[in-house]
Symmetry: C2
Subunit: 337 residues, 2 copies
């Protein structure tokens, strides 16, 4: 039994517009009628139809979310928790736009418009996965997560990938390491590039020579870590420390090292990335870089909300710090050379 604003008006003995004014907290309503209307609203459990409201206002208190398919990011759940928290604060529901298709005619912008979303969150994509230019040129408020795209109404938020890796290198050099290898992610992914860049900067800042032998481009999996370490062991001067782009690949590195008779952290230091749940419990516990996805999710919505509500604001670009979690997989360099 669905109630409309008209039913409420009748029950309260006022006009529809008065009800509307009460609901939307307009000033020019006498306290007496306001109270009466409010009582009826409560009694009849009236909730305004957001579809109708969306039609007339051209906005729906809804944020659109585009997600890449096959998402396996370990900390996606945290992101969601961050989203949820701020979604509540700012009063939006989230519509997951699942009807993406990958043919070139598909248009994110049209999809958004047809749904009348107030703003859009985009997560998990690479630069050329979809036609993001159209999105950037549109007037639709947009926040990219982990992709550095900017438009007049579009900003982005991401972890500080570069600094993460510089920190990691610096931590290892502080332990005396000078032969530091790097298990990279996809060469052409946004985060992959930045982390590699951070590694190179770190190397440079510590006056260490860069050797391409010490870099392996993998795919974040355990297997790629394993393969990487096998390759590093072939080097004329094998590394004494390895930085990885994911915890899973760090685990692969440790396994390959163990097979070669090397123990961590005595013979080899290893740093991971992500801080997945298991990392606390591995043997040894993994030293790793933790991304603050809860904050990223939270800030993405908060910033988007600002963008939506402020017409000429500069598009937000946020870089969220990471944290090096020091556990047991790194040790002082014993390489006498």
């Amino acid at each position: 039994m669905v109630r409309t604003i008209r039913d409420i008006a009748k029950s309260a003995g006022v006009s529809v517009s008065t009800v509307s004014k009460v609901i939307n907290n307009y000033p020019n309503v006498s306290d007496k009628t306001k109270e009466r209307v409010l009582r009826v609203v409560r009694e009849e459990q009236f909730v305004p139809n957001s579809t109708a409201r969306g039609l007339v206002k051209g906005s729906t208190q809804t944020l659109g979310l585009f997600l890449t398919t096959g998402l396996t990011h370990p900390y996606f759940v945290q992101l969601l928790a961050g989203l949820e928290e701020s979604l509540k604060e700012s009063g939006y529901d989230l519509i997951y736009l699942a009807q993406i298709d990958w043919n070139p005619e598909y248009s994110l912008v049209r999809h958004c418009r047809s749904r009348n979303v107030d703003g859009v969150l985009i997560f998990g994509f690479q630069r050329n996965d979809l036609n993001f230019d159209e999105m950037l040129q549109s007037e639709i408020p947009t926040m990219f997560i982990d992709l550095d795209l900017i438009g007049s109404r579009a900003g982005f938020i991401t972890s500080d990938n570069v600094d993460s890796m510089r920190q990691a290198v610096s931590y290892l050099t502080g332990l005396g390491h000078r032969k530091i290898a790097f298990v990279a992610g996809y060469q052409d992914s946004y985060v992959g590039k930045l982390r590699f860049e951070g590694y190179r900067q770190g190397i440079q800042e510590s006056d260490l020579p860069y050797s391409s032998e010490y870099t392996f481009f993998g795919d974040f999996t355990r297997d790629s870590g394993y393969a990487a370490m096998k390759q590093f062991l072939e080097c004329s001067a094998p590394p004494t420390a390895v930085i990885c782009c994911s915890d899973m690949s760090a685990l692969g590195v440790i396994e390959a090292a163990a097979e070669a008779g090397l123990t961590v952290p005595q013979d080899l230091s290893v740093i991971g990335f992500d801080d997945i749940e298991i990392s606390r419990y591995t043997n040894p516990p993994l030293t790793t870089i933790r991304q603050d996805f809860q904050t990223i999710g939270r800030q993405a919505v908060l910033q988007l909300d600002q963008l939506i509500r402020t017409p000429h604001i500069a598009p937000p670009t946020l870089i969220i710090p990471t944290e090096l979690i020091i556990r047991g997989s790194c040790g002082i360099c014993r390489d006498s050379e």
Copy 2:
């Protein structure tokens, strides 16, 4: 520059109703006008406004999703993948109803109605978390995931928790074990109860005595597994096998066993639940029960779609089989007793 159906009508030199008929594939339109309209639609990149459509049709091609807060289920991502796949097939977008609040006045039903969703998915809740009765009594098509609630328009889908545990017990008795302990989940959770029930059934079917000493009620964490094993070791006749309600707690059991000088699987057999990514790589690799969350997500949407489209259909209740993944953490019982 947003186009409406009126713009299209003007450009094509026909009436709005004709355009509407073409868009919605109505029969009574001549091929010639249909073609002309379609051309204009394509040229002008017209997409009908789903808000307006939703208003008049009373349905929005949208499914609502209620999620519990702080969801950390490792396989939620799989569920999402399953959802996404079938969402695409059946043409819905998913609206994540984040504006839940926990005061008693909050009504799921009203929230749904205000958004005009066609159906609802509910995941991660316990029976008394919210007022689900109202939902069950409403005419809103609903699928509960992992919660066995049924209404005239509401069904559920879940893994076969009972059978999973019976399988596990049966597998262990097949290996000669007769002292089989159980690390349960929350005592009052839906899945927790069923898994415990399955364990008891399995015990009974194998004519083993049930001993409350052999059951520990934990919370799915590694720590609770650790604590459980410590307790089991205090028994006058410690178990030779342990079944756990999560992989993490299985890892805790193994750790506690190792501390007591027991090696797995020689001295103790351990079975987990979930098959998280890491289980393949632990030492020994974990024998565990895998839930098919991809299928659960997929079927949830498919069944809901059926429910929506068929007025008087019986509410679907699906129990999805699990799979015992046999790896290296179980061995033949050596207990000579």
